[in-house]
Amino acid sequence: MLQLVIKRLLLAIPTMAAVSVLVFLILHLVPGDPAIIFFGDQPVTPQRLEQVRRQMGLHRPLAVQYLDYAGGVLRGDLGRSIHQGTPVLEEVVSRIGSSAELAAAAFGVAAVLGLALGLLSALWRSTWVDAAAMLVALTGVSMPVFWLAAMLIYVFSLQLAWFPASGFGGLNRLVLPAVALGFVSSATLARIVRSSVLEVLWQPYVTTARSKGLGESTVVRRHVLKNAFIAVITVMGLQLGTLLSGAVITETVFARPGVGKLLVDAILNKDFPLVQGTVLFVAVVYIVVNLLVDLSYAYLDPRIRFE
């Protein structure tokens, strides 16, 4: 087990290196000169433009720029934003709290709702319960999150005045964004849960368990869920990463700072160090979550052993 963790963490190093090279190259392929973006619609002389380009370090060859950056990262220095001059690490860290809080809450909503809907529709397959649950899931999949967010604000902030419409800090500011974000991702989850459960439900060992005289709830809990969960956990792991870094729209509508918004702004500004730093952070999150997912397999399925 420990060996596996160490091995996976070592494997993460080339992954991260590949991610950073790719991001660096892609950013340079996208048109747009960061110095020009910096000045935008402000009047500027060519000399001044060149000066800022130098200050941003863009006059150096690409390889030098990259190696310099990578060297910094190895020393634990993610560099400074070329636009604002602020340390990248600080920029990312200042958003993690808000993003993590939202991701965790939305994940909770998604897990509870997704599991409940998926199980209901699988266990009552081909009944009105199934149809109703899948209708909810379908609504969730097709509903744009900004619309749901706006409706939640309309009903729960404006009409009922139960929750504030914006900001972060405190549970009451978390409820609406978590529901908006969680509901949409619960829909995907519900469908996965349904199909995985259905698959397991017809396995011979389930029939065996039933014929042993086990109660239906025990059968479902012990034999069905545990086995169905491998696929479900994998999807949930991926969802967690998305919730943490891809909640830009929800963050914007509810006026919350977040990693997703930071990344989008950085890309629009072609702020290389900031994009790199944020992407590295997101990559780390995905690697860690995937590792946890892998480890959970051993618990869920005793046949899986890590050597």
């Binding site: 000169d33 619609d41 402000q42 009047p43 200042s94 009451n172 509810f254 006026a255 700072p257």
Partner: protein, 541 residues
């Protein structure tokens, strides 16, 4: 976001105060509670977006000026176009050629860090603006041809310019040239503007969370308010909280729930509803500067033909555009300057009226003949023009309107919507025929220079790529003449020249739209419409 009836709005605001109070006081699920009896002394402000830094010297954001004006004091205050009142400076003299300004400072002013305001601080602030390491932008263009500052005595400073800078008082009245504590600059270095900011203003920076909120608290020593305000001494408000709420529907919702008491950038679609509201107040101030307009790139044929550019001027129905896209809240524009600018020429409104027939005639005269598909052509070349813009809802609506208008007279327009980086690349390289422009500022000379001076052509802000020695000379004169009447005459000449040469099409002049709860009173907004200032403001329940 759905519309809400007025009765609804009234009902809702009854409970709105409770939401704010409860969310502040009670952790967890805040249920509405009756309004607290004592007057709230915090103003919550819903801001439309984030920004780069809180340092007024280095920022590019008007929003930072909005916050910053509370943290610094300007040397002078602008009370109307071309009119100034004492700020940190009690008096000033200007050399006839507008190259030397001498300011006498108040002697009773202290920075938030306790150090005294002296002539040296003015010099340090201004020197820092032109230091290349600072990478100042807005402040840099405001300070213009700055040469150096001389400290004449502890409270007298002389500012010298390399060439005439008649607009310097206007610049000095902006928050971007507000005076900063040299001691704090030294002490905090790169953290200045990021975590700390030290000026002499009526409020002090308490905390700043990027992309989230800025908290200001009252400066307990403030006793040097300009006489243009209604009271002296401390500001009435205990604190101001600027919260960043980019989504406009959400921002409006926070005004209605009471989470915000004041919001900026009210969408024009909600104009009528707020205007009729009994517990909200809509502030509508014509925005000074240069409204929404269309730049025509003369460097890319066939836009170099003046006949074609004239035809475009006549082919666009500005009244219709304003009604369709801006709900009739914006006003049809006439000139590169908005009507409230010093030197605005009302004659410009008569110069290029909407007249599609006139446009067609001009195109015929220029040799553009109507083809079978309704698009004109000359020498086998179709009249097909490229319009570059950024992915912005309103800009795309305006562009679609213009596209339809031009199609009526036989011009085909291709809309290219590009993200900021690619857009700037394209227009700076001059690959466009059309692009939008909008700018705000209170100095006419600076506006005209940005739009029309040849030094800004070829990749700068003059993306008309218009080059005219005569115009350059007019712009130089505007900068050099300190005498208002003579300056006005030259500004008028420049506007007429710009229209005669059919450089741009002026589309719509926007107002600045703010809204606040009726409990808020005493808001001062500069005449240019950009800086709501809360020194005189009270919140009464």
């Amino acid at each position: 976001m759905g519309r809400i009836s007025r009765r609804e709005l009234l009902r809702r605001t009854g409970i709105s105060v409770g939401v704010l109070a409860a969310s502040k006081v009670l952790p967890g699920f805040g249920l509405p509670r009756p309004a607290l009896a004592q007057g709230a002394t915090t103003l919550t402000y819903g801001m439309a977006g984030g920004f780069d830094t809180l340092d007024v010297t280095t920022t590019t954001f008007t929003r930072v000026g909005r916050i910053g004006l509370h943290l610094v004091d300007p040397l002078v205050w602008s009370t109307g176009p071309g009119q100034y009142a004492p700020g940190l400076a009690t008096s000033w003299t200007i050399s006839p050629d507008a190259t030397v300004y001498t300011f006498k400072l108040r002697e009773d002013v202290k920075f938030h860090d306790g150090t005294a305001l002296t002539a040296e601080a003015v010099k340090v602030t201004f020197d820092r603006i032109v230091d290349p390491e600072t990478r100042a932008q807005t402040a840099f263009s405001f300070i213009g041809p700055y040469d150096r500052s001389e400290v004449l005595d502890r409270y007298t400073v002389r500012v010298r310019f390399k060439t005439p800078h008649a607009a310097f008082l206007n610049s000095a009245s902006s928050p971007y040239l507000g005076i900063i504590s040299p001691a704090a600059l030294q002490r905090y270095g790169r953290d200045f503007g990021r975590v700390v900011f030290v000026g002499t203003g009526p409020f002090m920076l308490q905390s700043y969370r990027t992309d989230a909120e800025v908290r200001l608290i009252r400066n307990p020593n403030y006793n040097w308010a300009s006489r243009i305000f209604r009271h002296e001494g401390l500001p009435y408000l205990q604190s101001i909280v600027y919260r960043i709420i980019p989504e406009e529907a959400t921002r409006l919702a926070t005004l209605e729930t009471g989470e915000s008491l004041f919001i900026e950038d009210v969408p024009t679609s909600d104009y009528q509803r707020l205007k009729g509201s009994r517990d909200k107040v809509l502030l509508e101030i014509p925005q000074a500067g240069s409204g929404w307009s269309l730049m025509m790139n003369q460097a890319r044929p066939p836009m170099n033909e003046i006949g074609l550019r004239r035809a475009v001027m006549h082919a666009i129905d500005k009244d219709g555009l304003v009604r369709t896209v801006w709900n009739g809240v914006f006003k049809p524009a006439c000139s590169p300057l908005t009507p409230n600018m010093f030197g605005f020429d009302p004659e410009t409104c008569r110069k290029a009226p909407y007249n599609a027939d006139q446009a067609r005639r001009l195109l015929e005269e220029a040799g553009w003949r109507l083809g079978p598909d309704g698009v004109r052509a000359k020498d086998g070349q179709r009249l097909r023009l490229d319009f570059f813009m950024q992915p912005n809802q309103k800009q795309q609506e305006m562009a679609a309107f213009i596209q339809a208008n031009l199609r009526q007279v036989g011009i085909e327009v291709v809309l290219n919507v590009l993200a900021r980086a690619a857009y700037l690349d394209a227009v700076r390289q001059g690959r466009h025929h059309f692009q939008f422009w909008w700018d705000t500022g209170t100095d006419p000379g600076q506006m005209l220079r940005i739009l029309f001076h040849s030094s800004n052509a070829g990749g700068g802000t003059n993306r008309n790529n218009y080059r005219s020695a005569e115009m350059d000379q007019l712009i130089a004169q505007i900068a050099a003449i300190a005498d208002p009447q003579r300056r006005r005459d030259v500004i008028i000449k420049a506007q007429q020249k710009a229209i005669d040469d059919a450089v741009m099409v002026y589309l719509a002049d926007p107002p600045s739209l703010y809204a606040h709860d009726r409990s808020v009173s005493g808001v001062w907004v500069d005449w240019g419409g950009n800086y709501p200032y809360f020194y005189d403001t009270r919140v009464q329940r």
